[in-house]
Symmetry: C3
Subunit: 213 residues, 3 copies
């Protein structure tokens, strides 16, 4: 380690493990989401919905643990506000993955269309990049890894925007039932928003780099 | 008063009274909203809509008074940005209460369904907790009161999410008219977003505590 | 120049030209948008859509140039976070202008209704005020110009809210086809959100003034 940061943030044993836990939990959620959008209607989707719900609650607990730590800790590795914002942004991703799963369940969306699958995949890629970048925050040795992930997250969000817009256009063209249009639009929108939330995490990380690098 | 804060923020006579006024105004708005969602179609709803509109404008004036004070005051009890953000977040709650009322009026939503009533009630509870917490900001003697309210606001927002999701699911199941689905979804969404905005206020307050406690 | 700021930020040649470029690019986008909403279906709308898309990409490049500059520059004219936020907020306006154009194209919205035209006009006015205010940031000599523009941007956003709400109410009253209701609601919503994003820029500028004035 030859970075000047090794002197400033040498021994944080509290926040970084919790951030890694939060983003590793997101990876688990994204795995379940991927399984869900690729499952066929006859499979045990109920189980996947429940697992996503359970992981969302686990994420809530990690978020609260970070907040609690923040209230007890005097010297923090980054600005207190940035720690707060990063925890909140990671929590937002979990909320929208859970929200996507929830809408599929509540709106009886049985047919997983191509755009639903594609967005589920993009959410997973986004969470993978979030995990990679968050894991590097602890020593800031490889700033490049973080900035590269941020660039990829932005590109993933752009792709998700495009898939969403195109899918909604096609719903208008080919789906006659207005109810179905609304249902699918809501599910697609929740999935797309999950990638927006990945971008929010990237923005917080970029802001941390801007201040600390 | 035995808190160290009594030394730092001993005599602010400007911002805290305005914040209390803004959150007390939100309580008034939430009262009118509650009356509205519990009114029957034959009652004078027009009057309630107008009162909510008037209170929203009153809220705008309080918000601008805070901004004006901020531009004139050199030493502020909290970070200038936090004062700005808190004022903006309180204003957002007012906007969405007004927006809910406005949509009911413009979309001719006459039948107040159970989820509409329940969300109106949750908005009121949220505003009550916001008021309680904001009132304690002035001396930070009872940080516990603030953090307890923030926890309750988060729980209220979670309940509102659940009521919203379930209500929309039921619209798809039982409402045949797509127009009605869209109308109710929009009204429910504005109400639910009002509780999201309460959560934003809680986040700003938590962030103030994190920096000042 | 008799402001104290002339001493603090005398020679920034990097950020202000980029911010001016970004907001001048928004003016160009708003011009194309205005041409689009006032065009008739027989005209070459395809070309306007493509020009808006090209300008949005140009805006992305300016945004990234600001971020890059930020990572290389030690002393910045404002807080690093504010530069980051201002760049992001300007980029958001571009995204929603592009999003409006994109939805018109993808959803085959051929008939430009009065509210669509009116919102297009309000977006243009908003971008004009953003440009004016951003141009004054460089020396803060005319703070009044900035605050006046921020007030006007707030008023534009309020008008856009009103036009949007009324237009959606009228869709419910006069449009029988639920598909069309959804399509127009989405287009109107993207336009209205573009004015929300102008308000976000105003909020960031107000926050910069609060800290620096």
């Amino acid at each position: 380690m030859n970075s000047i940061f090794s002197y400033f943030i040498p021994k944080d044993k509290k926040f970084f493990p919790l951030f890694e836990k939060a983003s590793s939990n997101l990876m688990d959620m994204a795995d379940k989401l991927e399984a869900l959008v690729n499952s066929d209607p006859s499979s045990d989707r109920e189980k996947l919905h429940k697992e996503i719900e359970r992981l969302e609650q686990k994420g809530d607990e990690i978020t609260h643990a970070i907040y609690l730590e923040l209230s007890k800790t005097f010297i923090t590795p980054f600005d207190r506000e940035d720690i707060h914002q990063l925890a909140a942004a990671l929590d937002d991703i979990a909320d929208y993955i859970h929200g996507s799963s929830n809408r599929m369940l509540l709106y009886n969306v049985h047919l997983m269309t191509e755009p639903v699958k594609k967005l589920g995949e993009l959410v997973k890629e986004g969470c993978k990049e979030v995990y990679k970048a968050v894991s590097e925050l602890k020593d800031l040795k490889n700033i490049r890894v973080i900035t590269d992930s941020c660039v990829r997250i932005n590109s993933i969000e752009n792709q998700a925007d495009y898939v969403f817009d195109k899918a909604v256009g096609e719903l208008f063209d080919y789906e006659e039932d207005a109810k179905n249009i609304i249902k699918y639009k809501e599910v697609l929108s929740a999935l797309e928003t999950a990638t927006d939330m990945c971008e929010d995490v990237a923005n917080v990380m970029e802001s941390i780099l801007v201040k600390n690098a």
